[in-house]
């Protein structure tokens, strides 16, 4: 299917119709093609948890998923768009598996935010799933401007998952305690 698919835009994929049938999830069907929504390759989101908040990053690579998870972490506190990426903080961690590595990465960011009074909006990660070398860019917390909603106490092992989905995209998620 990949060879036959033509990406026409960021969110729409054009798929040649096979055997005249219609893809069940097609947004629009024409004589020759089905048009389906393809989620952006690299993104973050929150998911519900009763007491606290779930954060999830997705990406084409493991590193991208980790970067996006860190954006989701910031978004728990404040809108990442409102945080200028002017100061860089280097972060290195190591863990026995990619899931514990995610927790370490997020907790390292939480620690730097706490001790340096910073918020971060841009992240760069290089990781093989056991060792991580990364950088977080941000600025000093400005309470009136950023209006931080809540403090993240730490990343937890609850709903902790680092894996590829059926489409080969990497997902990195966990619940953070606020």
């Amino acid at each position: 299917m990949d060879a036959a698919v033509e990406r026409t835009g960021m969110y729409l994929q054009r798929v040649p119709k096979a055997c005249g049938g219609k893809l069940p999830h097609a947004l629009v069907t024409t004589a020759k093609y089905d048009w389906i929504i393809v989620p952006p390759q690299r993104t973050w989101e929150h998911f519900s948890h009763q007491a606290d908040i779930g954060i999830r990053g997705t990406g084409a690579t493991l590193s991208e998923a980790f970067e996006q998870a860190a954006c989701a972490l910031t978004a728990v506190i404040t809108d990442p768009d409102g945080v200028r990426a002017t100061r860089a903080v280097e972060i290195r961690c190591e863990a026995q598996d990619p899931e514990l590595l995610l927790v370490d990465w997020l907790n390292a960011i939480v620690y730097e935010m706490a001790v340096q009074h910073l918020l971060f909006s841009r992240f760069e990660v290089r990781t093989d799933g056991h060792r991580l070398s990364g950088c977080a860019w941000g600025e000093a917390i400005d309470i009136p401007r950023h209006q931080p909603a809540v403090e993240v106490k730490g990343a937890t092992l609850t709903e902790l998952k680092v894996a590829q989905d059926d489409g080969g995209r990497w997902i990195a998620q966990c619940i953070v305690d606020v």
Partner: protein
């Protein structure tokens, strides 16, 4: 949760018989409605806790139980070290010794009313609250060591409050067995700017008034009368506690295998009490308790100074200070035998009954004050320990209402400014740095605390003494 998964013992006590790897039964103290309103994870977590080595009698859940980290929030479990019992970082939580301190003031509702706005503003200015706020106290290494060992006792020695305050704090203000050297440099660094700060989320400093009295004798013992003004502070061990929780959760999760512990859920990470890791955690956790006690002592001092400026005749006296995220070594009688047990209370409050030796003289007859924090804009309660709570679940009770909906949903459903305006129209002043934070803490986002407290009383865990309504809330 599906009620058919439980065996009804009484209307307010429901049992899960041991199946599979469970070593003891699960017991929930709640009525049918509350149980139906709980998420399925509560069942899973109660039963998971019941599989841990050395657990004694049962894995308990309080009327406000909800999905937690390994342990349900509102979970109680006691372990015997001699039987390979474990201590669990998840069974204490990320906010070690989060708790509530309530103070009487000698003022009434009508004393406060003309000064409400000024008092709200002064408290908001005086109490560092929310992410990014910093305290004015900076501790050097020696000071940090002293604080972690001395708790509220240390704080009083530094001029924050009075000697008399200490007897109305659990552990008399100082947790024994704290090992400052087991607290990492990162945890101490994280605490450096946070001494005397409120934190955020569901933390608050509230000015409240007594709106109903249920037990006149106990109210008298607590020096509470109708319309009295009470100040309540809800917060914990700040960055130090969070860092300790983070670090030990990881090391316990990794080490469980080599201790031969099979974790049904990685979040249930624990270590044998009698092991280097277990002892290290206990030492660090107790230091975390001292940090929380010192923190609430400093906040008391700041609140006293704020009141002095607006209402000089106010006298803020500590009613009591309780913690609801701890693991304490306590003596309990099990099947007629006295045992020293390590009791985890995760989102659960100790509730000693009348006559208990650990109570200050003033509360020997009434039982321990159990401070139940309400959510923003809703009622809080002060309960008193009941004698039968000891037999029920090691003298424990609930701690608050618990959330009814996620933060995401709440911030979509409510706007902070509207919530503040609505509460103001009802005479309740909210002060916060973040509108979204207020929306996430909207009264409607929480369960009905009245139902939780009634269930606790009906289950024989603690009895209602007074109900409090908010007047001013400084939100973290």
């Amino acid at each position: 949760m599906d009620l058919s998964r439980f065996e009804r013992v009484t209307d307010n006590e429901w049992r899960i018989n041991p199946v599979g790897a469970m070593r003891v039964p699960g017991i929930i103290y709640a009525d049918a409605d509350l149980i139906r309103g709980m998420d399925d994870k509560v069942y899973e977590q109660i039963t998971n806790v019941a599989t841990l080595p050395g657990i004694i009698k049962a894995s308990y859940a309080m009327p406000d139980a909800h999905w937690g980290y390994g342990f349900p929030i509102g979970g109680v479990a006691a372990f015997d070290a001699a039987q390979g019992g474990v201590v669990s970082a998840g069974g204490v939580g990320f906010d070690i010794s989060c708790g509530v301190r309530s103070l009487t003031t000698g003022l009434t509702r009508s004393d406060i009313e003309p000064h409400k706005d000024s008092l709200a503003d002064v408290l908001f200015a005086a109490i560092p609250a929310g992410l990014g706020s910093t305290g004015t106290i900076r501790l050097n290494d020696r000071g940090m060591q002293a604080m972690l060992t001395g708790g509220a006792r240390w704080a009083v020695s530094q001029g924050y409050g009075y000697q008399d305050d200490l007897q109305y704090i659990e552990e008399y203000g100082c947790m024994a067995g704290a090992l400052a050297e087991e607290v990492s440099q990162q945890a101490k660094r994280r605490q450096r700017d946070e001494m005397g700060t409120l934190g955020s989320g569901n933390h608050y400093l509230e000015v409240q008034h007594v709106i109903e009295i249920y037990d006149r004798n106990a109210a008298r013992a607590f020096a509470l009368h109708e319309n009295d003004i009470v100040v309540s502070i809800h917060c914990g061990s700040r960055g130090l506690g969070h860092q300790i929780g983070t670090e030990f959760l990881k090391s316990m999760a990794i080490a469980a295998h080599q201790y031969g512990i099979e974790l049904p859920d990685r979040e249930l990470a624990c270590a044998p009490i009698n092991s280097p890791l277990g002892e290290s955690y206990l030492g660090a956790m107790r230091a975390g308790i001292n940090c929380a006690l010192a923190n609430r002592q400093i906040l008391t001092h700041l609140a006293r100074r704020a009141f002095e400026g607006i209402l000089p005749r106010a006298e803020l006296s500590v009613l009591y200070d309780v913690s609801h995220n701890t693991c304490k070594q306590e003596e309990h009688v099990v099947d007629g035998k006295p045992m020293r047990l390590f009791v985890h209370r995760k989102g659960a409050t100790r509730a000693l009954g009348p006559g208990h030796a650990d109570l200050p003289e003033a509360f020997r007859e009434s039982g321990q004050p159990v401070l139940i924090g309400g959510s923003m804009g809703t009622a809080s309660y002060i309960l008193a320990g009941l004698p039968q709570s000891e037999q029920r679940c090691f003298a424990s009770a609930c701690h608050g209402a618990g959330r009814a909906m996620s933060r995401r949903k709440a911030s979509k459903q409510w706007h902070g400014r509207q919530v503040i305006d609505d509460l103001s129209a009802r005479g309740i002043l909210i002060r916060s740095h973040s509108y979204r934070g207020v929306a996430e803490e909207a009264p409607g986002a929480y369960k009905d605390v009245d139902a939780v407290v009634d269930a606790a009383e009906n289950a024989g865990l603690a009895r209602k003494v007074v109900k409090l309504a908010p007047v001013i809330c400084v939100k973290g």
